[in-house]
Symmetry: C2
DNA sequence: GTCTATAACGCGATAGAC
DNA sequence: GTCTATCGCGTTATAGAC
């Protein structure tokens, strides 16, 4: 009962250690691969013994879960910052750029978020929540374009959103699989991102929108 | 020196064991995840001791390599069969369907081929060769459409091919990540495959092809 | 209570001797 | 083909230090 609410020095120190564990985990995954994360290696880097990590995370999968949540929050926030720094008419494009840029700069977390590379790992509802919010934001961006007459209302249907995410995920996954060392700016596939956006606008062009 | 060329009964038996190992490996990866393949589990299923597997494969990564090659060959052949069973005008679409259908039916191998889920695994040149052939086939399909006036010549440029593979890979990866239990026929994302094909034809429409 | 260490269990990949 | 052995892993139990 005494452990409930106590935002004192100790819990701050504890949170700091948790963040360090996550930082080191990401760093190791970057060099060794997402699925090659080793608790022993994390502990070594932190000057700890492996069992000590269990004070902070109940299992290895719990670390993956925390990383999933971290990544989803960062993507969501990157999109929102991009939105808040752009004119309404540019917000969809700005958010898409911010998303792509973040993914290229955080490929390890991107793999964890969008592929399923870890056997047995399913994100918890809490970890998944910010991802849902990010998707809701995307829907809002599309709705805004519908309201301003730039897109047909069908763009915000389930199919429209699925098409949008499939095309962006496709460019991204080709880029990461074939040219992972590239950046957002110079990637061979990355430069197709504006192209698929243009194709999306074309397909859901208003007033004379057509479907076969 | 006596082991060089001897296509007799023994080498047939040996090849049979190799195929069994690969079959069991795929079966286990289907239930446990691509990265969770365990040589001990494979050996158990085959009634062998784990070290015996090293008579057939020098390491676990060599098994992944053989599976990569197997998958690439099967995709290439599925595309070619689809091509040979279709009218020239339908061959691109038929090959795309055959490709998608194979991927949904062989998700484990698809992950191995198109994502990089195994730390330290890079396909060998021999394993990669059939994948290169499959890509060359795709280029030939596109060229055929260009020659028959259905597509602008730019469709076979590096950008055109990258766009084509990115869109198909995107639909596929969204389907596999979000609805892996679906089939080629009923997948929510899978039904976007004809849509992206239509969008591709639209973008590389000949005679009045335009680019911003 | 909170953190850390040590010891130990079971499992995995793999090398070497038979 | 097997058996034995080594090493590293995730994890648990336990006990001592702050």
């Amino acid at each position: 009962m005494s452990t409930a609410a106590a935002p004192d020095r100790r819990s701050r120190r504890r949170q700091q250690t948790i963040d360090e564990i996550l930082d080191v985990s990401v760093a190791l995954m970057e060099t060794e691969g997402v699925a090659a994360l080793s608790l022993s290696a994390v502990a070594r880097r932190l000057g700890m013994q492996p069992p000590s990590l269990y004070q902070y995370f109940p299992s290895k999968l719990a670390i993956y879960d925390a990383l999933f949540q971290r990544g989803a929050e960062q993507i969501r926030d990157a999109q929102r910052e991009a939105r808040d720094g752009a004119e309404p008419a540019d917000q969809l494009s700005a958010a898409m750029n911010a998303f792509s840029r973040w993914c290229m700069a955080n490929q390890v977390l991107t793999q964890l978020l969008f592929w399923r590379p870890i056997p047995g790992f399913e994100p918890s509802p809490e970890a998944f929540a910010p991802a849902v919010e990010g998707l809701a934001d995307l829907k809002a961006f599309l709705q805004q374009e519908v309201d301003s007459g730039q897109l047909d209302p069908r763009a915000t249907s389930d199919d429209g959103i699925a098409l949008f995410t499939a095309m962006t995920a496709g460019v991204l996954s080709q880029q990461m699989a074939n040219e992972p060392q590239a950046t957002f700016e110079n990637g061979r596939f990355m430069k197709l991102m504006p192209v698929v956006l243009e194709m999306f606008y074309q397909r859901y062009q208003p007033t004379r929108g057509k479907e076969k």
